[in-house]
């Protein structure tokens, strides 16, 4: 009886998981079907012929690789800037005492909730005025508006978890505050820094609104707006090509999920998942 219930529960649970994952599975299946097979009625569930032609088309006949390069540069750039600034900032917020510190922490949380749509118009005007509109750099700058508050908040909660005694012990041994930061705090905070970097990277990789407003050349366009452009500008929509693009766009996530998922879980623990 117990056995039957186990099996029944597992069947039920896995069908729920399958249902949730179905759109993504369907994406992969569609991406390896030849175009004509998509228009078969009734549709074939498993592809009759598996083809990677759409992936080749994507790489050789569309600006996909250029978009991908842009996305990589923007996401790595944003992550690097944000993590360096936020690590120093979070350390300051957690271990130093100065007037206005509490207010500042509140401000960080407030900016973390701020809607991008309020900031995007003034930022657009600012970029035009400074003369950096339509560049990869302008997107890195724009992405710090949401990535920096987010990383600060996450790193702050990671660093609060490091006991004060560790730094105190280093200071007693004659280290300066900065030496203690580099030799004691940083190694302790490293897992938190890695997990914050991953989340920041994903945020930047997936961003759409700023890219839509601030960039309108293929030279600086990231994958999100680039791939949407392929949908809008094509005369008849080639779904299998778009699904192949979607699969390729999700590759970094798959890599992170497969090899670095322990860092993701750590990030959830610190309460830092943004939508």
């Amino acid at each position: 009886m117990k056995m039957v219930r186990r099996v029944a529960f597992n069947l039920f649970a896995w069908s729920v998981v399958g249902l949730v994952a179905f759109p993504l599975i369907w994406m992969v299946i569609t991406s390896v079907k030849p175009q004509f097979e998509l228009f078969r009625i009734p549709p074939t569930f498993l592809p009759e012929t598996v083809t990677f032609e759409h992936y080749w088309t994507l790489i050789y006949d569309t600006p996909f690789l250029k978009y991908m390069r842009n996305s990589l540069l923007i996401a790595f750039g944003t992550t690097l800037v944000v993590i360096v600034v936020a690590t120093l900032g979070a350390h300051s917020l957690v271990r130093f005492r100065y007037p206005g510190r509490e207010r500042l922490a509140q401000l960080v949380l407030f900016t973390y909730l701020l809607p991008s749509v309020v900031l995007v118009l003034p930022l657009y005007l600012l970029m035009v005025w400074v003369g950096i509109a339509n560049s990869l750099f302008s997107l890195v700058v724009a992405y710090t508006t949401f990535a920096l508050p987010y990383a600060l908040w996450l790193l702050r909660s990671f660093m609060q978890g490091i006991p004060d005694d560790l730094e105190a012990a280093a200071l007693v041994d004659g280290a300066t505050r900065m030496e203690a930061f580099i030799d004691v705090i940083l190694p302790q905070a490293l897992p938190g820094i890695i997990s914050t970097s991953l989340f920041t990277f994903i945020l930047a990789w997936n961003e759409y609104l700023f890219a839509l407003v601030l960039v309108n050349t293929d030279e600086a366009r990231p994958l999100t707006t680039g791939v949407m452009n392929m949908l809008i500008s094509s005369f008849n929509i080639e779904w299998s090509l778009l699904m192949a693009a979607s699969v390729m766009m999700s590759l970094p996530l798959v890599i992170i999920f497969a090899f670095l998922s322990s860092y993701l879980t750590r990030g959830f623990g610190a309460g830092g998942v943004k939508g």
């Binding site: 529960f9 597992n10 649970a13 896995w14 729920v16 998981v17 949730v20 994952a21 759109p23 993504l24 369907w26 569609t30 998509l38 228009f39 009625i41 009734p42 549709p43 600034v85 120093l88 900032g89 300051s92 917020l93 130093f96 005492r97 100065y98 007037p99 500042l104 949380l109 407030f110 900016t111 909730l113 701020l114 749509v117 309020v118 900031l119 118009l121 003034p122 005007l125 600012l126 035009v128 710090t144 508006t145 600060l152 505050r177 997936n206 759409y208 609104l209 407003v213 994958l223 999100t224 791939v227 779904w239 778009l242 699904m243 979607s246 999700s250 996530l253 998922s261 623990g269 998942v273």
Partner: protein, 299 residues
């Protein structure tokens, strides 16, 4: 406060470390925020960026515009329905994943994936699923007899609103799963043992033990998700573009349309600022509850 020289030096070092943050914040967040409020007092023609002072004129026009109220109502409808679904689904799936099941970590990863996948990818996939001629959803609904003829999922009402609510729920419920699952794991087993001794069945145990324990985390999750759903742009813009006509147009979409479709950045800013004022209620509530839990955590 800092009287001895070492304390003062430390305070200075702390200020130096936070300085880059403050600089960036001032340039890309505080300045644009103030600027948005300032812009909302002008009418600004987007292509030339020429502006004319109109004072509160933009706001007066908005208050009198049906489109604004319609978009505000849409924003609330979208937020309430998708959020409710996210919470219910999130709790249910978290309870499920909390049980023993085979390949649990794989199941967890698969459940979390929609949350991390780009909205662009999610939208492309769903638009393909929703496709009226070759979409798998219409096909399955037809052969199972749920539908008599193919459904126009995104191009007519109320289907379009239902579709975005469903896709929103699918994309964002994993956030609730993560938060609830973490909390479930820290509920002491004795509570369930005690409830069992008192003869409580599984349903009674859920309402009497689990739910009260989850209350705190749920408040935070609901506020956060309410804020994020309220300001959602990508998903709705890419799925329906606000259509048919303006039936699914929420405030963020209206901001974008005013600024780049109708070319008035001033009016667009006024909408953005009004939207932020509405959101401020949730934001203050969240800041309060976050402040409270922080103080408790420090204790």
């Amino acid at each position: 406060m800092a009287t001895n020289p070492l304390d003062r030096r430390y305070a200075l070092l702390g200020a130096v470390l936070i300085a880059p943050t403050i600089l960036i914040f001032s340039a890309v967040i505080i300045y644009p925020l103030v600027s948005a409020i300032y812009l909302s007092l002008f009418t600004i023609f987007t292509p030339t960026l020429r502006g004319q002072w109109v004072g509160l004129g933009n706001y007066a026009e908005l208050m009198a515009s049906n489109e604004f109220w319609r978009s505000l109502a849409n924003t609330f409808i979208w937020t309430v329905f998708t959020l409710t679904l996210q919470i219910v689904l999130g709790i249910a799936v978290a309870l499920m994943l909390h049980q023993n099941m085979v390949f649990r970590s794989l199941a967890r990863s698969l459940i979390l994936f929609p949350y991390f996948v780009s909205t662009v990818v999610a939208v492309l996939v769903w638009r393909w699923l929703f496709n009226d001629l070759y979409g798998i959803l219409n096909y399955l609904a037809l052969i199972s007899g749920l539908l008599q003829r193919p459904l126009d999922w995104l191009g007519s009402m109320p289907n379009a609103m239902i579709s975005i609510v469903l896709v929103g729920a699918w994309k964002y419920f994993p956030f609730v799963v993560i938060a609830v699952l973490a909390r479930l794991q820290s509920i002491p087993d004795q509570l369930y043992e005690a409830a069992k001794m008192d003869g409580a069945g599984p349903i009674a145990r859920f309402f009497d033990v689990t739910l009260p324990q989850l209350k705190e985390v749920l408040v935070v999750v609901i506020l956060l998700r309410a804020i994020w759903d309220f300001k959602e742009f990508d998903l709705i813009y890419l799925l329906t573009g606000g259509g048919p006509v303006i039936s699914t147009q929420t405030l963020p979409l209206m901001v974008y349309k005013e600024a780049f479709g109708l070319n008035d950045m001033g009016r667009a800013s006024a909408i953005a600022v009004s939207m932020m004022l509405v959101m401020l209620v949730f934001m203050v509530l969240y800041l309060r509850s976050a402040g409270r839990s922080e103080r408790e955590g420090a204790r």
